[in-house]
């Protein structure tokens, strides 16, 4: 058998030149296509951006018209907002207000006839109230202390009373006392 071999007749240099030529053509095509595609993308996005900018300026014109329309109602808007502010302020003030008349009423209701309340000190948002007074009888003072926490009298407001000092005034023949009364939480509110 005779062994058959393929004989390459084209010289190697020509083969190399051909493949280089193919590579060059492909690279040129890729470069051109890449440029075209990036140009198209850029152009498309730029055009889209322009259209969006136009749309936005149109919307801004619309909102400017609305703002101008609202400005015509400035007087009524000021009144409505003022009314809203005043109403919410009123709710807040009345909710946080301490009614001091409640304290005077509670002290007066609890006071026995022959006991004199010579002073009261009340502070807003402070549950402690100082009551000064004088009486000729310790029994009356004890009665006053009891009345202050009695549910039918001062007990509606006061939860606890402490006799913080008693001084005997020999000249007047009376005992001068200081009571610290604690009110219920929010007891002065309505």
């Amino acid at each position: 058998m005779i062994e058959r071999k393929e004989i390459e007749l084209i010289p190697k240099e020509i083969e190399a030149a051909k493949s280089k030529d193919t590579l060059v053509r492909r690279v040129r095509l890729f470069g051109f296509l890449f440029f075209i595609v990036s140009l198209l993308i850029f152009g498309g996005i730029f055009a889209f951006r322009l259209s969006l900018a136009t749309k936005l300026s149109g919307l801004e014109e619309d909102s400017a018209q609305e703002v101008a329309g609202i400005a015509q109602f400035a007087e009524i808007e000021a009144k409505v907002l003022g009314l809203e502010n005043k109403s919410s302020a009123l709710t807040k003030i009345l909710a946080q207000r301490d009614y001091f008349s409640v304290v005077l009423a509670a002290v007066e209701t609890s006071r026995p006839a022959n006991l004199k309340v010579t002073g009261v000190t009340i502070q807003k948002d402070n549950v402690l109230i100082t009551i000064n007074g004088e009486t000729a009888s310790y029994v009356t003072l004890a009665s006053f202390l009891q009345n202050l926490v009695d549910d039918g009298k001062g007990g509606k407001l006061f939860t606890n009373v402490i006799l913080s000092s008693v001084n005997q005034n020999n000249a007047k023949g009376t005992a001068e006392f200081v009571i610290e009364a604690t009110t219920k939480k929010d007891g002065l509110k309505r």
């Binding site: 470069g31 990036s38 951006r49 919410s88 807040k92």
Partner: protein
């Protein structure tokens, strides 16, 4: 001398710079155009497309925000139109609420009201002075302070406290201290009271078209406040 050398000599009349020689080289002529196009494409993407895309996204969000704003503005415009139809009622209620919480400090009117209340209860005012203003909550509410001292009987002081609590212009007490003294000549008992009084006002609101209106004349709390104010006495 061969033919090539003689051609070079003919050409030597115009001398080529190294850059021109580089450009004229066959490698540059072969690979240059695709590489230049590729680089231009990259530059277009980096310096044109990417920033434009960012801008497009900004514009899209601006458009959405502007559309939302227009909807809100239209709603506000519609509400204001409704309110303008009820302007008589709004004016009426504003006057009532303005009496309770004024739009300005109106200190002289406040002092006059306190004096009138004292007089109505038979309380003798010994001190009544303006003690300054203070912002209460984020510019919406201002506090006016008064220093007050008086002489009266216990029952008159009680009357004064009750009247203050029901006065048309809201006044509240921050503190109260009273003491009983006896007039040595007449033997009469006098209650000397000292108090810090607080009143309030809401400054005229700053208008902004973008601030929505949340107020309604049929709001439950507002209606309740109208009823409360009816119980207050004008001095």
């Amino acid at each position: 001398m061969d033919a090539a050398t003689s051609l070079q000599k003919q050409d030597s009349g115009r001398t080529r710079t190294p850059f021109a020689s580089f450009l004229a080289s066959s490698e540059v002529r072969t690979w240059g155009p695709p590489i230049v196009l590729f680089v231009i494409g990259i530059l277009l993407i980096v310096f044109g497309t990417i920033p434009s895309w960012g801008k497009v996204q900004d514009l899209q969000s601006d458009i959405v925000a502007e559309q939302d704003r227009i909807v809100a503005l239209k709603e506000k415009s519609r509400q204001l139109l409704d309110f303008s139809d009820q302007s008589v009622e709004i004016d009426k209620q504003f006057t009532v609420f303005d009496q309770a919480i004024s739009s300005e400090s109106q200190v002289p009117e406040l002092l006059t009201q306190v004096q009138k209340i004292s007089a109505a209860c038979g309380v003798k005012v010994t001190t009544l002075q303006f003690g300054g203003e203070k912002e209460k909550t984020s510019g919406k509410l201002q506090e006016v302070r008064l220093q007050y001292a008086s002489e009266s009987s216990f029952s008159r002081l009680t009357c004064f406290l009750s009247a203050i609590e029901k006065a048309s212009r809201l006044i509240e007490m921050e503190s109260l201290r009273y003491s009983l003294s006896v007039n040595e000549d007449t033997g009469a008992q006098i209650i000397t009271a000292q108090s810090t009084l607080l009143s309030y006002y809401t400054p005229t609101p700053q208008l902004s078209p973008d601030n929505p209106l949340t107020f309604s004349l049929s709001d439950e709390r507002f209606l309740k406040n109208i009823e409360l104010l009816k119980e207050f006495k004008v001095y």
